[in-house]
Structures are given as structure tokens and as C-alpha cells.
């Protein structure tokens, strides 16, 4: 029995809540990344600037989630703590971001 298994035996978790929480967070981040895409499209950002904007935006959203939704205690609601929240936030919404980014870039500028 390694350290992680031992930890799980000592402090059991509720898998349903883990799944529900990650679903809520992924809902939030897909919504917010689409909004960031709208902003990037309106601002007319191109290539690396746009992705830098996305990175900064998701960091902002992660901070908001940790502060408002989790009440400043991310380790209560997700296994990895705030690192997990940021990682899920940055990787999960890129597709939605690019979608609305290109859409609004085309809408505003053509």
C-alpha cells in the first residue's frame, strides 16, 4: 500500500462530489473561455497575443473561482488544490476560445 492509497483509506473522499465539482468547474470555464474569445475577437488580437490574452484571462477566472466559488479553500473541493483548478481551466477551454475568437474577429473586421 503506497502513500496515496494509505491517505485515501485514512481520509476517504466522496467520488460523486468530486465528479459533480469538476463538472461545475468545466461548465464555468467553457462559458468563461467563450467570453474571453469574444473579447479577443473584438480587440482584434492575432497569433501569440491572443493566446497570451487567453492565458491571462484564464488565470483571472481561476482566481475568481478560487475566491468566490471555493471561498479561498480550493483543497476542500478538488483533489489537487488550486493547481488543479488552474490546469483544468487553461487546458479545457482552448477550443471554445479559438472558436469565438475567430468568429468575432471575422464578424467585426470583415
Amino acid at each position: 500500500m503506497n502513500a496515496e492509497e494509505r491517505d485515501l483509506q485514512l481520509y476517504p473522499i466522496v467520488p460523486e462530489n468530486l465528479i459533480a465539482n469538476s463538472k461545475t468547474i468545466s461548465d464555468l470555464q467553457s462559458l468563461s473561455s467563450s467570453l474571453l474569445g469574444i473579447a479577443a475577437g473584438i480587440l482584434g488580437l492575432e497569433s501569440y497575443t491572443g493566446f497570451l490574452f487567453y492565458l491571462l484571462g484564464t488565470l483571472f477566472v481561476s482566481t475568481l473561482i478560487v475566491t468566490f466559488v471555493m471561498g479561498g479553500k480550493p483543497e476542500v473541493y478538488s483533489r489537487g488544490g488550486w493547481k488543479d483548478v488552474i490546469a483544468a481551466d487553461v487546458t479545457g477551454g482552448v477550443m471554445g476560445f479559438v472558436l469565438t475568437w475567430t468568429l468575432f474577429f471575422g464578424l467585426v473586421r470583415v
Binding site: N17, S32, I38, L43
Partner: protein, 141 residues
């Protein structure tokens, strides 16, 4: 997810602001393209100006976009998303004390099935009662 009134207002206000910023950016790109085209119609190269003209946005539209999006994000994030604690200890404690509602009502704890089962039958007492009853029956007959 129950949205509170301030976050609703914030979402509505910043959506309008974002729509306005989008419209302004669109109008600005239209205006600068047509102006540049009119200005460049006399000169020899009409294409070079139209390509570069739409790239700069006025500062007020940029600021409006950034402000509206950050307000919108704040409004969405603060509109009553609920997470449940993942550790069994705190979740079970919350359910038992009524701090965490299960399906919108107060639960009785995670182990209610074990706590509220029927007790053991006292078979000696039941046998004694049956014997007494049998004796009374026998006396009557």
C-alpha cells in the same frame, strides 16, 4: 444554482456594455476602411491602406471591452455555483448537521439506512409470552 439579484444585474449591465463595444469596434473598422479607401482612391495603391487600417482600435473601445468582459466574468462566477466538499468527513458532517442540503432538503446523514433499521427481536421474551398465552388457553379449555 440560484442566481442572486446583484449578479443578475451585473451580468445584464456588462452584456450590454460588451454588445456596445462590439458594435463600436465594427463601426470603427467600417468607418476607417471606407475613409481610407476614399482617401486612397486618388493614389496608386488602394490595397495597402485598407489592410493596415483596421488593426488599431481606439483606446476607449479597448478599455470598454476589457472592462465589460471582466465584469461579466465576475458576474458569472459569483452567481451562486455550488460545490460540495469532497472529503467524506466534512461532507457527511455537513449532511448530518443540515448545513448541506441533499436534493434541496435536509438529509439525515449518509448512514441513515444503518442507523434506523429495526432492532433485534427478543426471542426469549416472545417465547415466554407465547408460553403464558398457551397456559391461559389451556386453563380455559
Amino acid at each position: 444554482m440560484a442566481r442572486s439579484l446583484p449578479s443578475k444585474l451585473l451580468i445584464a449591465f456588462s452584456s450590454i456594455l460588451l454588445a456596445h463595444a462590439c458594435y463600436s469596434a465594427h463601426e470603427h473598422s467600417l468607418l476607417s476602411t471606407t475613409a481610407a479607401a476614399a482617401h486612397d482612391s486618388s493614389s496608386s495603391s488602394p490595397h495597402s491602406a485598407t489592410i493596415t487600417s483596421g488593426s488599431t482600435l481606439p483606446l476607449d473601445i479597448t478599455l470598454e471591452t476589457l472592462l465589460s468582459v471582466s465584469l461579466l466574468l465576475v458576474g458569472i462566477v459569483s452567481s451562486g455555483w455550488e460545490l460540495k466538499p469532497i472529503s467524506l468527513r466534512s461532507y457527511a458532517g455537513g449532511v448530518e448537521s443540515g448545513k448541506i442540503l441533499v436534493d434541496g432538503k435536509k438529509g439525515k446523514g449518509l448512514f441513515v439506512g444503518l442507523e434506523e433499521r429495526a432492532g433485534f427481536a427478543d426471542i426469549r421474551k416472545q417465547r415466554k409470552e407465547f408460553t403464558d398465552w398457551m397456559k391461559t388457553q389451556g386453563r380455559v379449555e
